[in-house]
Symmetry: C2
Subunit: 237 residues, 2 copies
Amino acid sequence: MKFNKVAVKAVTLVDQVEEQILSYIVENKLTLGNEIPSELTLAENLNVGRNVVREALSRLRMLGIVESRKHKGMVVREPDVMKCFTKVVNPYLLSKQSILDLLDLRVSIESGIAELILSNITDEDITELESIISRHTYQDDMKLKVENEIEFHSKLYRITKNQAVIDLLEMILPLFSYVNEKYEDFKPLNQKNKEKLVKHEDLIPLLKARDVDGYRNAIYNHLKAYSEYIKQTRNIK
Amino acid sequence: MKFNKVAVKAVTLVDQVEEQILSYIVENKLTLGNEIPSELTLAENLNVGRNVVREALSRLRMLGIVESRKHKGMVVREPDVMKCFTKVVNPYLLSKQSILDLLDLRVSIESGIAELILSNITDEDITELESIISRHTYQDDMKLKVENEIEFHSKLYRITKNQAVIDLLEMILPLFSYVNEKYEDFKPLNQKNKEKLVKHEDLIPLLKARDVDGYRNAIYNHLKAYSEYIKQTRNIK
DNA sequence: ATGACCGTTATGTCCTACAAATGTAAATAT
DNA sequence: ATATTTACATTTGTAGGACATAACGGTCAT
């Protein structure tokens, strides 16, 4: 028995037109603000129906590559690199493995940006971080409120001044919230490593001292505690 | 003169329908393989034209959230987290700043995954890395061929066994290639820091020794050399 | 029971039509 | 002649019809 069906032609016209329009933009070196032909001219030139062109443009619009000004025409935009993430990074749509991978990715990045943070951080940043910590409230004696977690770490991200870093990590944060809420009896620490649990306030002196290695180690332990716990308890409520 | 136009209704029907379908999936707890209503029934229930539904579905299809089996129906899929990246991370579409941000993100992640790599790496992995290095060829006496760069680092990524890490970094790699080719007279090292330039072969002993801090420091310097050079020379060919 | 046939259904594609809004050119008023 | 108004053409957003094609399921004949 032989399978001669070499290629299942799953690519639709829309897929092709989408690529053609992208090629058009690249080849004509169109940049921010340049106009692209109207839907009708595109349809005529590409020999397809206007619907097909609209579907392709709809996708490009979602990616932020083009923008449509109603009743005027469409122009090229600079895509928002991480924007497409928002729709996909949804705990209800992702598998448990994907979520775990993303949470581990977060640990790696937050450790990896230690140099970036400590070479950029100002005294004002540190003051703001302290202010955020002072507003921290706890659900019970162990579990910090999710909003506080998000506020603190978001501030850390913004210190990098790297928009890709900021967007990517802020996209992953809600995932952490979801897991945090969903896991039953979530306690990132148990008795035996209670003493070495790193809290937000423990990071401040390291930031003040501009201690890169110390900070990286601390933030790693701070996050890894959660990550490890989640991996151990596989059952989600 | 007052602006009473409270909200510019930029959201189209397609945007709304897209959200509605997503909500439908989430609320009905549809998962991998579950069918969603046909285009026509969706259009009727949502009181919109079939075109609108098709555009919305076309977007979800691109994100990998749904899959259409021709003439049969549409089913829910698990979206590929990083897939949407491929279309957006295109050096011709992104601004120079976005590219630089992404390259810095790469440096941070490759440093940040040091723990992950060194806790996972096997002797076979190291042997394979050595084998890759043995096949390295140089364009001139300084510049390693881009394919070799990609091959070596891709192998490093795969050691993490974290699909999000692998996909994200492999998405950024071609960007590096582009910059590498585009920058005129690209030399990551100059005379004064020639001695401290870290090459691929310098990483091997650190990997063998499972020296996390040493490896992280080395890979950081290895990548930062390029990154810094690019930031200095602002003009692209 | 097996195989041939037919109708139903779903997606992919094309087409026409119209509303709304925008820019432009012509027409009109001053 | 200039300014204002009007009318038209263009473009996106949306609706709806039409058809080809392919998969599925049921019926009927053998």
